[in-house]
Symmetry: C2
Subunit: 505 residues, 2 copies
Amino acid sequence: MSFRIRDTDLLGRSGTFSVGGRSVDTPAFLPVIHPVRQLVPGPELLAMGFGAAITNSYISLRNYGHGISERGGIHGVVNYDGILMTDSGGYQVLEYGSIDADPLTMAEYQVEMGSDIAVVLDRPTGISATRERALETVEWTLRAARDTLPVVERTRGRMAWAIPIQGGLHADLVERSAKESAALPYDVYSVGSPVELMNSYRFTDLARLLLTAKRNLPPERPVHLFGAGHPLTMALAVAFGADTFDSASYALFARELRYMTRCGVRNVGELEELPCSCSICSRRTPRELLEMPREEAVGLIARHNLYVLREELLDVRQALHEGRLWEYLMQKTTCHPSLYGVRSLMVEASGDFTEFTRLFKRRALLLFGHEDVHRPELMTAASRARRVSPRGKSITLLIVHSVDVQAAPSAGDDVYFVVPFLGLVPPGLSDVYPFSQNSKPDPTSIDRRVLEETARASADAVSGWGITSAKIVHNGSGWAAEMAGLLASRLTERGIPATVEVSHV
Amino acid sequence: MSFRIRDTDLLGRSGTFSVGGRSVDTPAFLPVIHPVRQLVPGPELLAMGFGAAITNSYISLRNYGHGISERGGIHGVVNYDGILMTDSGGYQVLEYGSIDADPLTMAEYQVEMGSDIAVVLDRPTGISATRERALETVEWTLRAARDTLPVVERTRGRMAWAIPIQGGLHADLVERSAKESAALPYDVYSVGSPVELMNSYRFTDLARLLLTAKRNLPPERPVHLFGAGHPLTMALAVAFGADTFDSASYALFARELRYMTRCGVRNVGELEELPCSCSICSRRTPRELLEMPREEAVGLIARHNLYVLREELLDVRQALHEGRLWEYLMQKTTCHPSLYGVRSLMVEASGDFTEFTRLFKRRALLLFGHEDVHRPELMTAASRARRVSPRGKSITLLIVHSVDVQAAPSAGDDVYFVVPFLGLVPPGLSDVYPFSQNSKPDPTSIDRRVLEETARASADAVSGWGITSAKIVHNGSGWAAEMAGLLASRLTERGIPATVEVSHV
């Protein structure tokens, strides 16, 4: 097993995961292949670019038993020549109950199947578990992981092993589960419970669960997020640190004639036309899908859904590559109000993001609303700006919409720009990314809260310098006057008397 | 010529435009077909679903002269069997100068070409014109339109005629151009100058130009927006009232190996993978495009760009059909900061939108940020709510996150809900759309400005009732207390003393 990281952005990364002679680019979406009722043949999944998939070991055990190796293992059974992860079937064990499905049995069976990424039999926490019950699932799963270790050691090199992180909505238990899991010699961490959170549209809780786990796991190892492969959650999963995620939604939705779009799901009957360019949709109408035999329509919609998931994945990867995952995830939050809370979590996690978010990019930073004041790139840039402290005890702060390298006063004058979103910019750093390489709404369209938060951040930066007075200069336009007033108040609160002047120069 | 309107939403509408025995669904994107150098053959455009296209009469005149009718007219020359609009070539006339290109000559030539939608020879205003120059273009174009009338009358029934609206950024001149054009017997209004605005990313100015024109044109007739067929501007064009729009961008971008996405444009060399499911992209890599002969790559990218434009168009149409064009356009504004100002313009135009925006929809209203407080549906709903006036002089206002039909107090108590985004909701209207059929961020994720603007709107509504006191009740949570405080202040400002109480019932 190897995991090579190429690019990083926020807590996301792109890279290559290799095991047993096969490789897949990450972040990767793993379509669920049902071991028995397969909707889209394995070779088609591979041809669409899904180089890894996931199937279920418990259902395989019940259906194929120990004869599976004679059928070419699980790759032969499901006719898929990519990397195959095998879910341990914790949910199914809970549901159907079975005494023979103990951790060692399931581990040995996954070896027998020829799994590429086996998962320790877990006890899923779910989202309605009491703290007591959640603790039980954490401890049960950790015990199972320890019991499984002999099999892990015996098969090392041939296959990868994933340890499930439990705890659900109990953050302290997720932390404990992650910390103790991190101490065990597993290759992959797979974070549990997302499906229930997704089904109830609790996307912020989902992101927080992943963030909590991620904060307590070694950053160099891959993280799988169970079930989060949905157009609404893929960007979120990647931004908060998942490298792989799976989902059966493409097939489950298709069976109900539910048609995925990049921003939601529709019944085929609700569509006027098929708004997609894939081979299924570009020459068909919704009516044609509704009038053909249902099984045929289900198969076609499943393929369309896979195309949508693939598009979303490729867009997320490109955003990560360009270092604009923040912008991309912000956009996704406009798909549904339940995603809106993710914005605050992004602001909260900005400190986590800074370490892995490159400051320099080829593209301008795009700035929109007040959350963007807290972009990790701007936090990093601000900490540089703060180090350019004044020589004297008095400073001049020029309110400008954009820094103008030409018009920059000389640094010796203890003059600084204050720019919406960017905050304090020493003229000497004007041409350093992203101070000059950004795009923001025009002056009259900037949200008041952007001005408020810029003023607060700028005052905080200045207050570390031990200065005794500040002169704020603006050009007299409405937004600049407002910004100047806000800044003066924030400075005064911090014990720095500030005057405001208008200069039309 | 006939134009049948099916659905309306904001100032947009869907319908069918028919002329000369051919029909096209609107809103429609008309790809530009160059009369000589054609990048994508006409039959392919038709097969992709582009049932109308636009070409240039001036370039045709220079290249094919009066022999064009022997070649099967312009449809034969460009091998396109859909509705063909012919731009008059105002820009080209300005650029190359030509004494024989007077309005009547160009009108007669468009008849000779077999144009389906001919355009009066215009003098484009552009965006850098002084007021004097702009006035000149308005008057010149109106004069040309009057001079062309004999040809229009002679060919009525066989073809449609479009009159260009000039004035550019001079709103009063756009108004005059639109008003005087509306009085003339033309079939289509085509709004000029968007291309320059788009090239300089002045999207808010573009929307305002269209809004100004639209306010002064008869709503039942079709409006064409020159050049605005771009993934970033299509939703905007439709929302502000354009039925058709054209663009050559698919081809112009392709010639520079520029690859469209739904949210922007990239050089093919910047892409890691091709994030699209169209027949061009689903089996190719960016490298393959870069390594093939350039002309071949240009042709393929042009086709991909057309697929992206088609997807955007279909998504806009579906949003219009579902009555959620507001949500869709809000999403688009997160593609680039230059679009952010469009949000304020949407709020400003909400009064224009209400007339054509259906109140009842099959889908829940999705509410995100403070602009959504001013959604046309909520304005209409609020005016109903205001009519449910209290019996007495004192009212009780219950701050709630969502109206609960079960828990609704009886109407006789002069009790009202106050709900973020929705404002004042009389319990008797609780189950009326959209008071119960909406989705909003969870309580802790609602922007403060939403609370502020809800408080202001609610206080305005109450202040019309002549009441003398108000009791505000909330459940003690942070956001509800803040909302209660804001509401109390707004009421007090309006001369209505208000008390605030906490009730955990």
